[in-house]
């Protein structure tokens, strides 16, 4: 960190801008290092466990500190984890590098990370688990994070490296203050900008601030986009390493935070391996009765084995039931034309959004992400494979009635048989890792 940054003028950020959130299926480890540390090495190690009953693939991209992670991402590693296995990834960070890691993969992969300091013989000198961030746990724009209990003794120990990560795909502005335990601010607050998907790393922050000795100090951080911050506290050569994460406010209870009425519905593992006698699944979403929801997000993985013989394959849909078929609501449906010439996003009321051809390949694993968003009145399907987006379809939502009024809202997969001689069930296809989230309308 350059001194002028911290002695700059406090600039009020414009917090009104709403940044796009992290994409579903995306997580970050904001501390990724592979650097000399005294006579040893500090290295980020990743653990990945696959809880599914089949192999799963994911990608890890290293985002170099200071670089724009959208236009200039670092090397990407594609890996597969066998069913039930845990793998240890030790080579995700290039030598002599610092930055953060981005993960893209299906929801049944579980990730943890460790910063390990080892000597030249490989003996572990110290280690610290590292935060792994997902969309729900990012700090919102305008909030303030507090890194507490930071210390530097007269012998210069420990070192404190401070980092701020912008986890959105837009540039951001952050304001940072360092404060003594008595509340006295050290210098002036500093404001600086961060590139999209980027980390700003400020090594040895107390040296930069000209503070030779301090106890129980804190750093406060606020940004105008979703963000996180950390302090890495360590001794040269490894005997002490701690990733200090933001302190917790005493502003809640131990009640698990799901917003009132929010429903998360999850079916991990394979939930439909479609065959002639069994080619359909339907899950009623346990919504709070008569509560209006504003957004539904549906994620699942789909293995497209081969295209059926008929004209279309009935892939998935979301509906609300009713005894009177004219009162039923069809939120969306997907039909893939089996000659791969188009894909229909069916929005009901005869509204179809069609893609061009060639969007699908046989014997390929896809991740399907649907958003039914009533504030924007849009329905969007995003399809990715191997971390790469292969299809996006979006159209107008035909109803804003995202509510269980006593008639069940369900998500459906496949179909029971051939309809009208043209719509075929997805025989041989495998559906897995369903995650459905319904967010209640804010008053």
């Amino acid at each position: 960190m350059k001194r002028p940054l911290l002695t700059g003028i406090l600039v009020l950020a414009a917090f009104a801008v709403v940044a796009p959130p992290l994409r579903a299926g995306e997580s970050f480890v904001p501390i990724a290092r592979n650097q000399p540390n005294g006579s040893g090495t500090s290295r980020t190690i990743i653990f990945v466990t696959n809880l599914a009953s089949a192999a799963r693939s994911y990608s890890t991209t290293f985002l170099t500190a200071g670089a724009n992670g959208v236009v200039d991402p670092g090397p990407t590693t594609n890996l597969s984890v066998a069913a039930g296995q845990t793998i240890r990834l030790e080579s995700g960070v290039p030598p002599d590098s610092t930055g953060m890691l981005r993960f893209d993969g299906p929801a049944d992969l579980q990730i943890d990370a460790r910063l390990e300091v080892s000597d030249t013989s490989g003996n572990v000198l110290s280690e610290s688990r590292l935060p792994v961030l997902s969309p729900e746990r990012l700090t919102s724009a305008g909030e303030t994070l507090y890194l507490l209990g930071l210390t530097r003794t007269s012998d210069g120990k420990p070192l404190t490296d401070f980092g701020v990560a912008n986890l959105t795909r837009e540039a951001s502005s952050c304001t940072v203050s360092a404060v003594r335990s008595n509340g006295q601010t050290i210098g002036s607050a500093a404001t600086f900008s961060l590139q999209p998907l980027s980390l700003r790393d400020f090594p040895e922050v107390w040296v930069t601030l000209g503070v030779p000795e301090i106890a129980d100090a804190r750093i406060t951080v606020s940004c105008n986009k979703q963000f996180t911050a950390f302090a890495l506290v360590y001794d040269v050569g490894g005997p002490r390493t701690a990733a200090v994460t933001p302190g917790g406010l005493l502003n809640g209870t131990l009640e698990p935070i799901t917003r009132p009425g929010e429903v998360i519905f999850k079916v991990p593992g394979d939930f439909l391996i479609a065959k002639n006698s069994d080619s359909f699944r339907s899950y009623r979403i346990p919504l709070v009765p008569n509560l209006q929801y504003q957004k539904a997000t549906i994620d699942f993985d789909m293995y497209l084995n081969k295209f059926p013989n008929g004209l279309f394959t009935g892939v998935t849909s979301m509906r609300r039931a009713h005894r009177d078929r004219h009162q039923r609501i069809f939120y969306y449906g997907i039909q893939i034309r089996n000659d791969n010439k188009k894909t229909n996003l069916d929005l009901g009321d005869e509204v179809l959004v069609r893609s061009g051809g060639g969007a699908w390949k046989a014997r390929t694993q896809y991740h399907m992400h649907f958003e039914y968003d009533t504030p924007s009145r849009r329905v969007t399907l995003t399809v990715t494979t191997g971390g790469r987006q292969t299809l996006s379809l979006s159209g107008p939502a035909q109803t804003l009635e995202l509510v269980d009024n006593g008639n069940a809202v369900s998500v459906d997969f496949g179909q029971t048989g051939i309809a009208d001689g043209a719509y075929f069930p997805p025989i041989g296809w495998v559906y897995s890792n369903l995650e459905v989230k319904f967010e209640p309308k804010e008053n």
Binding site: E26, D108, V132, L254, I257, V263, V267, E350, S410
Partner: protein, 268 residues
């Protein structure tokens, strides 16, 4: 060619039949407890090293604010724990607490206080030869507590003959008794022993020292535990070689794209 909409009646009819089967206990759950948990309250000497929990409390507000702590010994009913006298923090100031646990008694802390207060905690070990170990501790609130019937994963766990051990800990965040299930696995997915079912008292901490050693896994790396409870809960592991600089606090793993505490699963 018919409109694709024409296939609707087929699937709708079937969905009504199957829908009832898909219902789990997934409606919002009314859990109860204090304001925040510090999962390790330590003032213990192990293998010549003293492990001490330190807590920093900052008042971000404009007037003095107070808080209190309850020490909950391992296996005790936390509902019955008594709070310490209230500590006041001046506006903008930070206080350090390093005497939060009785000597030699492991447990956890429940902090209660004004919403303007921010807490951070660390476990620090001072070894016999001056070696210092440190681990950041989470301040557990509703953002970290898992809903009932969710499953949390603790991974990257080890047990070595050199003295590296893993202890497993389960926090019952509810004011009711909970039943929890623990499963241990090798890195190849093979389960170690059978499922272990335990009962946790209200607002309590259950600890299993050297959990892999107890399961006769004396030399293992990259093992994992899956933990599930029928009440809101939290789980963690402590990996360490006592008396040395090796010390790790292992929080639940994150699912890609989702925080570990947020999901309830149907078929774990």
């Amino acid at each position: 060619m018919r409109s694709a909409n024409s296939i609707r009646p087929l699937t709708v009819r079937k969905s009504l039949l199957l829908g009832a089967l898909a219902l789990g206990g997934l409606l919002p759950i009314a859990a109860e407890a204090g304001d925040a948990v510090i999962p390790i309250a330590s003032n213990q000497t192990e293998n010549g090293a003293n492990y001490l929990t330190k807590i920093w409390v900052t008042n971000q507000g404009g007037v003095s604010r107070g808080f209190s702590m309850k020490f909950v010994a391992a296996d005790a009913n936390g509902v019955q724990a008594r709070p310490t006298p209230k500590v006041t923090v001046r506006p903008g100031a930070t206080v350090l607490l390093n005497n939060v646990a009785p000597a030699g008694r492991p447990g956890m802390l429940i902090a209660s206080g004004a919403p303007q207060l921010v807490l951070s905690a660390r476990l620090e070990g001072a070894g016999p030869n001056g070696a210092a170990a440190v681990a950041n501790l989470p301040v557990i609130t509703g953002a970290q507590v898992a809903v009932a019937d969710a499953t949390l994963l603790l991974q990257g766990l080890s047990r070595r003959p050199s003295g590296l051990t893993t202890s497993i800990h389960v926090v019952n965040a509810a004011r009711q008794t909970a039943t929890c299930t623990l499963k241990a696995f090798r890195r190849n997915g093979q389960q170690i022993a059978g499922n272990m079912t335990i009962t946790n008292k209200p607002l309590s901490l259950r600890s299993f020292e050297d959990a892999l050693g107890v399961l006769n896994e004396n030399d293992i790396v990259d093992a994992r535990f899956l933990i599930s409870c029928n009440k809101p809960f939290y789980a963690f592991a402590r990996v360490q070689r006592t008396g040395t600089t090796e010390l790790e606090f292992v929080a639940p793993s994150a699912t890609v794209g989702r925080a570990p505490s947020l999901s309830a699963s149907l078929n774990q």
